[in-house]
């Protein structure tokens, strides 16, 4: 089942930067914009699977490090004229902590 999980302090992610959360075999990229808005995306560019967490963050967008696709952080969609999208995860900040809503194995076992 889905659950809000405390993954880190907001200060663990640099402004205009990203960090990665390992989720099983996958990676989730957690971004922090200059205005402290936080976003979470599947860490793969819709183009050729580039690690979005390594891109340059500007506004509420990130530029993929492999071929410069620009992805909207809030929706995971590529900025036109490119098209494609990557999965988004619900994320919020409470008392300086970043919470991510995830399907977890632990909970599945309990449920």
């Amino acid at each position: 089942m889905k659950q809000w999980i405390d993954i880190a302090a907001l200060s663990d992610v640099p402004r205009l930067g990203a960090r990665v959360v390992a989720h099983g075999e996958d990676e989730i990229a957690v971004f922090r914009a200059a205005d402290d808005a936080v976003f979470a995306l599947h860490n793969r560019c819709p183009h050729r699977n580039g690690p979005l967490s390594e891109g340059i963050v500007h506004g509420h967008r990130v530029t993929c490090p492999l071929h410069n696709w620009v992805i909207e952080l809030d929706r995971g969609e590529a900025v036109a004229p490119d098209s494609g999208s990557t999965a988004c995860y619900p994320v919020r900040v409470e008392n300086g902590r970043i919470l991510l809503e995830l399907e977890t194995a632990a909970e599945a076992a309990h449920g």
Partner: protein, 815 residues
């Protein structure tokens, strides 16, 4: 009520609608927009009327904005309605049928009107101009019933009309008042070549002929000339010129001369009324080509969006004739005067003629016939007012002869290439795809094509090919990349302006630059941030704190990202000289971290590929303990110094090239440069270290050291230019430091030394680095000062714990 301001556009043509497109990009929700156009169509590409007349395209092909576009953008379109009055007191546009549209701001884009010679009979049936779709329809209808056409006017438009009518099967005679065709674009030689090839196609000419009367009853039957001779005709096309359409503006009390007067922000004398396009007179000039209109549209939109930072400074235009199979290019002052000189290449057998008019070592004009491949290049040099002293020897032969051995002749064959020919080797884009995108998505500029197809978006070596395709597909008059190119879409300022401001206004942080230079975004983008970070670091060494968030991933984590997200690690191997102990250490590291590929690089080093990001700091720690530092193989920085064995071993070696290479590498490692920087040192003129395709090459000779600069072995192979010869190793080091520093201080970010030298000129580099001894020493000193802050091994720092969060996940959660 939307609460939005009201914007009215009068004139539904290319200039006006382009302004709306630019405005919608900047401020999509700012205005309620109403458009009036007196033609019953959406916006179409007027420059493509000639191919429609020639039967090469249909009207549908040339529609740029169909009804759906207006609807999608919430624009109210009144087709077939003519605005007859502007009530500037009530701020209201009024049409012939009484429709009223109030405005807060209004754009006049009324274009121009064809000039009809007022000879007797000019109003007979079958006498028309060549201006709009209606005229083309009339010509096409006439070509089905009539046989003979007379086109009055031997300019660009007249010849295109004549060609189209001939393609439709008519017998066509072009009548021209003067003795030279296209006298405003061509000199006598080019005009004669053009006339001959048009004659070969069957076009007939009456030059130096003044039309005095159009003959016939209701319908035209012929024309009479001043000498009394007559020519029979079923159709007469008047193509003797256009006049700005200023009627509405005049009636509304706006100040007009030849056109509607506007200032650099495209405002008329009424500040709430803007004007763009052919109806405009700006700094005394009136334009009838599309590229200036687009430049105006951009500036006008910028002000309508209340950004208020763009300025229109006038345009320089070039012309190409849209007659399939005839290559003709003209720009600027092609006739010259007593103060200018000419360079001429004429090859009658190939039908090639090129003339450049040069004044004070700058191109002032160009006429080309038969081979127009380099037209865009000459035009760029002309607009940049580039000093051509150093290019003089090869200038006339074209860009392909300026050291570029890589992709030289492909562009000339572009028209003949099949659709499946690959144009962009990086992104695998074929000719057909590009042409398809240009026509179906109505693209006009290189940037548009890059955005939509990715062609020329990576290494850029096919840029010329893509530009040729644009020119071919659009028939020539496409919008060329403006020479004043902004650093990125976040700003109107150029690289040079920004760098200069950072220095003179003492801007020392990214936010300071954003604020002082009026950036349109709060924190820049992936293009400008790395550039600014470099300029700040270069200008304020020791003061500016490097911002990892403004660095591309490779430079941020000090390793090269690979396609699968792993990294490559290249330790520095000074001058390419290593030891068994070092090799053993590398072997152990490779095994310990299970490096899948170990590769010898072209720069005499060892590349460990496929390293996981999390392993990097520990691996660097092991390499540090074995004495290695970062090789900066990932950076816009000093890369390698390639050497040969030189006099120590080689029987031909004249100097210790290996030792000198190591000294040069010790001097320059760690420096950040505008783009990557490579050095080579060869021990004799046999040049085994390939020093003459490096950014800086030293070729040892018996009597000293030759210094060569600006070479490149990459996308475009470019051999170095000879800088000078010096007598001692100490001098080599001083000149090298000065050269690197001069490049660091004056090149634009991401500009290699090769294009930089072609832009600034070898003479200037020689003057600064060779001739001016005081200046050279000052450059070398500044380089040494910046190196004091740069020569810290980033690998050791990270092995010791710097940026630790970068290399490990925040958290691990089981799925």
């Amino acid at each position: 009520m939307t609460g939005r301001q009201k914007l009215v556009l009068v004139g539904n043509g290319m200039a006006g609608v382009r302004t709306l497109e630019e405005l919608l990009k900047l401020a999509p929700d700012m205005y309620d927009i109403t458009v009036f156009g007196d033609e019953p169509y959406g916006n179409y590409n007027r420059i493509m009327l000639s191919p429609v007349l020639a039967g090469e395209k249909t009207v549908d092909d040339i529609i740029l904005n169909d009804d759906a576009w207006y609807a999608d953008n919430g624009i109210t379109l009144h087709k077939g309605k003519r605005v007859t009055r502007i009530d500037r007191v009530r701020r209201c546009a009024i049409t012939d049928d009484g429709t009223e549209a109030p405005y807060d701001r209004l754009i006049l884009a009324t274009g121009s009107k064809p000039f009809i010679i007022p000879v007797p009979g000019h109003d007979k049936q079958g006498v028309i101009a060549f201006r709009d779709i209606h005229d083309v329809d009339t010509m096409l209808a006439s070509s089905r019933t009539g046989r003979r056409a007379v086109v009055i006017g031997g300019g660009l438009l007249g010849l295109e009309a004549a060609n189209g009518l001939m393609k439709q099967g008519m017998e066509v005679t072009v009548v021209h008042l003067l003795g030279t065709l296209m006298e405003r674009q061509l000199d006598q030689v080019a005009a004669d070549l053009l006339m001959r090839s048009l004659q070969e196609r069957g076009m007939q000419f009456r030059l130096q002929a003044q039309t005095t009367e159009v003959l016939g009853d209701d319908r035209v039957t012929g024309v009479r000339f001043q000498d009394g001779s007559e020519l029979p005709a079923d159709l007469v096309v008047m193509a003797v010129g256009i006049r700005p359409n200023i009627e509405l503006a005049q009636q509304s009390g706006l100040y007009c001369e030849r056109g509607i007067l506007v200032n650099d922000t495209l405002q008329t004398f009424d500040p709430s009324i803007y004007a763009v396009g052919e109806c405009v007179q700006h700094r005394g000039s009136v334009y009838g080509l599309v590229a200036p209109l687009f430049e105006q549209a951009k500036v006008c939109a910028n002000h309508l969006a209340e950004y208020g930072i763009a300025k229109y400074g006038g345009s320089m235009t070039s012309t190409k004739l849209k007659v399939t199979g005839i290559d003709l290019f003209s720009a600027g002052d092609f006739n010259g005067d007593e103060h200018s000189e000419e360079m001429v290449l004429q090859d009658a057998a190939r039908g090639v003629y090129k003339k450049l008019v040069i004044r004070d070592n700058r191109i002032k004009g160009a006429v080309m016939y038969g081979d127009t491949l380099d037209g865009a290049w000459y035009f760029q040099l002309m607009r940049d007012e580039a000093d051509i002293t150093d290019l003089r020897e090869h200038l006339l032969f074209g860009q392909a002869h300026i050291g570029d051995a890589g992709h030289g002749d492909e562009a000339s064959r572009i028209a003949a290439l099949p659709d499946n020919a690959e144009i962009c080797g990086c992104n695998g884009v074929c000719k057909g795809e590009i042409v398809q995108a240009i026509t179906s998505k109505k693209l006009f500029t290189l940037e548009d094509v890059r955005a939509h197809t990715k062609a020329s978006n990576s290494c850029g070596s096919c840029t010329g090919l893509v530009e040729s395709l644009l020119a071919n597909t659009l028939g020539g008059d496409y919008s060329q990349t403006p020479s004043k190119k902004s650093l990125c879409p976040c700003t109107e300022h150029t690289h040079d302006e920004v760098r200069e401001a950072i220095r003179t206004r003492e801007l020392k942080t990214l936010p300071a630059v954003f604020e002082a230079m009026e950036w349109s975004t709060p924190d820049g983008c992936h293009v400008c941030r790395p550039a600014l970070n470099y300029y700040l670091l270069m200008n304020w060494p020791g003061e500016y704190e490097d911002d990892g968030r403004a660095r591309f991933i490779n430079e941020r984590v000090h390793a090269n990202i690979q396609k699968d997200g792993t990294y490559s690690v290249v330790p520095r191997i000074w001058g390419g000289v290593t030891t068994p102990a070092e090799l053993r250490a590398i072997a152990e590291v490779a095994e310990k971290y299970q490096v899948p590929t170990v590769k010898i690089t072209g720069g005499q080093r060892i590349d460990l590929l496929g390293v996981k990001k999390g392993d990097l700091p520990a691996m660097w720690g092991d390499l540090s303990r074995a004495g290695f530092v970062s090789g900066h193989a990932y950076g816009k920085a000093l890369r390698t110094v390639k050497t040969c064995v030189g006099s120590e071993w080689c029987r031909f070696g004249t100097q210790d090239s290996t030792g000198l290479g190591i000294q040069l590498e010790k001097l320059t490692w760690g420096t950040w440069t505008p783009h990557k920087f490579k050095i080579g040192v060869s021990g004799c003129p046999r040049n085994c270290a390939e020093a003459t395709i490096k950014d800086l090459g030293v070729v040892c000779v018996d009597s000293g050291y030759e210094l060569h600069v600006g070479g490149n072995g990459g996308v475009k192979v470019r051999a170095t230019d000879f800088l000078c010869k010096v007598g001692s190793e100490a001098e080599v080091l001083e000149y090298a430091a000065a050269f690197v520093q001069y490049y660091r201080e004056t090149a634009r970010y991401l500009e290699r030394t090769a294009p930089w030298i072609e832009r600034v000129g070898l003479s200037l580099v020689k003057q600064k680095v060779v001739e001016d001894e005081v200046g050279r020493k000052a450059l070398a000193k500044r380089f040494a000062e910046s190196q004091a802050y740069a020569q810290h091994d980033p690998w050791l720092e990270r092995a010791e714990g710097a940026d630790a969060g970068e290399y490990r996940p925040l958290n691990r959660i089981s799925a």
